[in-house]
């Protein structure tokens, strides 16, 4: 892992309040694995003070690290206004990614909103025929991938909460429908998204006995295991009380986590 200032190669809007940033960071891009993250700092000033964790959304060529993000707060709002040629500070790659060995089966990549970010990197490393993408958004204007991300989504099934595009409902409804139609045999699930959606996905996976890896997020200050801020409750079966998202995750097997306490 390294700390460095990375030049912005591009920073473009790809959906409502959603941006894709390309960063010149060959040392990080070369080592990064799907599911890993970087701690990013947009300003040298003290407000915002802390870095924020961002999933790595992919690598372009050998040098460019891709970060897909939503402008939701002060930091990401400043980030969205950054221009080509400016720079941000990166610390990474950090954490443990998805176990791609588990993905030789019929893979489903299940994303809720900006939770698509780490799964795009997974898709980049898989054979296009080996996975199916299911993505859910609140409405049509937020859909990522349909509108110029430069990343082609194979077999992409889309749901929107308001029905303005694709199937009306939650992305977990798509998952449920698929399992009811094709059966759970050989299916393996990688997922990332809002907590409520993850809980639903995990419930479906557990009921259908589908192996499932989940990428979690948490407030964290360092990303290095020092602050211990990013604790998530471990399931009773594990010999731990808390895991730390930065070091033990951010990707977990679903049965590692206590989904009732999280």
């Amino acid at each position: 892992m390294i700390e460095k200032d990375a030049g912005i190669v591009f920073n473009r809007k790809v959906a409502h309040a959603t941006f894709l940033m390309g960063l010149n960071a060959p040392e990080i891009a070369g080592k990064a694995a799907p599911g890993q993250f970087v701690m990013l700092r947009v300003t040298k000033g003290i407000d915002p003070l802390l870095r924020r964790p961002f999933s790595i959304s992919g690598v372009q060529g050998t040098d460019t690290l891709l970060i897909l993000y939503r402008a939701v707060g002060r930091g990401t709002s400043i980030m969205s206004e950054k221009k080509e040629g400016e720079s941000v500070s990166l610390l990474g790659p950090l954490g443990n990614g998805f176990d791609l060995e588990a993905s030789k089966k019929k893979m489903i990549l299940l994303a809720g909103g900006i939770g698509i970010a780490p799964l795009l990197f997974v898709a980049q490393r898989l054979e296009p025929a080996s996975y199916r993408f299911m993505t859910g958004f609140r409405s049509k204007q937020e859909i990522i991938g349909a509108d110029g991300t430069g990343i082609i989504l194979n077999n992409n099934e889309i749901s929107t909460d308001d029905g303005s595009f694709g199937r009306k409902g939650f992305v977990t409804d798509l998952l449920k429908g698929r399992i009811e139609r094709d059966g759970p045999e050989g299916v393996c699930l990688f997922t990332c998204g809002p907590l409520l959606m993850l809980k639903n996905a995990v419930k479906i996976a557990a009921e259908s006995r589908i192996p499932c890896q989940v990428s979690l997020e948490a407030n964290m200050a360092c990303g290095l295991g020092a602050c211990q801020g990013c604790a998530v409750p471990a399931s009773v079966a594990m010999n731990e009380t808390y895991y730390h998202v930065c070091q033990d995750g951010p990707v977990f097997e679903m049965n590692q986590i206590d989904w009732d306490r999280i």
Binding site: M1, R41, A221, G225, T241, Y242
Partner: protein, 308 residues
């Protein structure tokens, strides 16, 4: 100065530091977390994460939240406990050429004493730093550090059970921090370090809930720096033992402020989270400041604050 490097070493009487910059407890893990990013031997010292007798899992999340120019934390003093610390963390600390300060805490006098006793004889440990901000379980949960008598008793207990120099880390959540500083000095403390975090609270106005599960947390970062500089100034006037200053230092100018206010050394905390290389930058910045000012020795600025 004929290009000669300024002297950065400081002597606390019981411990000599190669420079006045120490990483603050709870912000630098056990050093090992930062070994790929930082030349640890460059540091004046490392104060490791707070240690208790038994393992402590910490508070339920959310444990941290950013606030203007600072952060609130309620980690809950999570740590592996005395036994695991000695087995798993000390061997790495033994390889380092810097001063190791072990921050300890307890919920009773006996527990403080037991941790201090358990660390006896470990040569890699240069000093103990006693966190007296913990609730005193035996006396209704009031923090030891908010009362001069209990502060003194903790200090005496640790001194009696330990073979190390004892630094007492003072809480700013008191009416007059000088009263506590004098009490622990009288009890025999070798030094005081201040300030620990200021108690704070942040509420999500949409849900009406506090942002931290613990309701309150400790505020750190640049937001608290002027408060910290003032308290360091006050305490440096009130006691003879060395004062180690901290609170929101993020660059060398901030560190110099504390030294001029009377601190013999400083601790850098929250800034390590933001910028792992910050302590090295602060050390270099101090050197450059002395060179430009033509001051041969960092000790030449300590406590030199002028009355306006």
């Amino acid at each position: 100065m004929n290009g000669k490097r300024a002297e950065l070493g400081v002597d606390l009487g019981f411990m000599r530091l190669k420079n006045p910059v120490i990483t603050a407890s709870g912000t630098f893990g056990y050093g090992e977390e930062y070994k790929d990013l930082v030349d640890l031997n460059r540091l004046g010292g490392i104060a490791v994460k707070g240690l208790s007798l038994e393992p402590k899992e910490g508070n339920p999340p959310p444990r941290i939240i950013e606030t203007p120019c600072g952060m609130l934390n309620a980690i809950g003093l999570a740590n592996p406990g005395l036994k695991a610390f000695i087995e798993k963390k000390v061997p790495f600390l033994e390889t380092l050429d810097t001063n190791i300060i072990v921050n300890i805490y307890g919920h009773s006098l006996t527990e403080y004493g037991a941790v201090a006793a358990g660390l006896k004889g470990i040569d890699a440990i240069d000093a103990l730093e006693v966190n007296i901000s913990c609730p005193n379980v035996e006396q209704g949960g009031m923090a030891f550090g908010t009362d001069p008598d209990t502060s003194a008793r903790v200090t005496e207990e640790v001194l009696e059970k330990s073979d190390k120099p004892v630094i007492v880390k003072l809480s700013p959540n008191v009416t007059d921090i000088r009263v506590i500083a004098k009490a622990v000095q009288k009890a025999g403390a070798h030094a005081v370090s201040l300030i620990n975090t200021l108690t704070g609270m942040s509420i999500d106005i949409e849900s009406g809930r506090p942002e931290l599960f613990n309701l309150t947390g400790g505020l750190s970062g640049p937001a608290i720096r002027p408060v910290a500089v003032h308290m360091v100034y006050q305490v440096a006037q009130a006691v003879e033992i060395p004062v180690i200053g901290m609170g929101g230092i993020i660059e060398y100018r901030d560190a110099l402020e504390f030294l001029i206010a009377g601190a013999r050394a400083v601790q850098v905390g929250t800034a390590n989270f933001v910028s792992p290389g910050v302590c090295a930058e602060i050390i270099e910045g101090m050197e450059e400041y002395l060179r430009v000012k033509d001051i041969p020795d960092i000790n030449g600025i300590i406590g030199t604050v002028k009355s306006a």
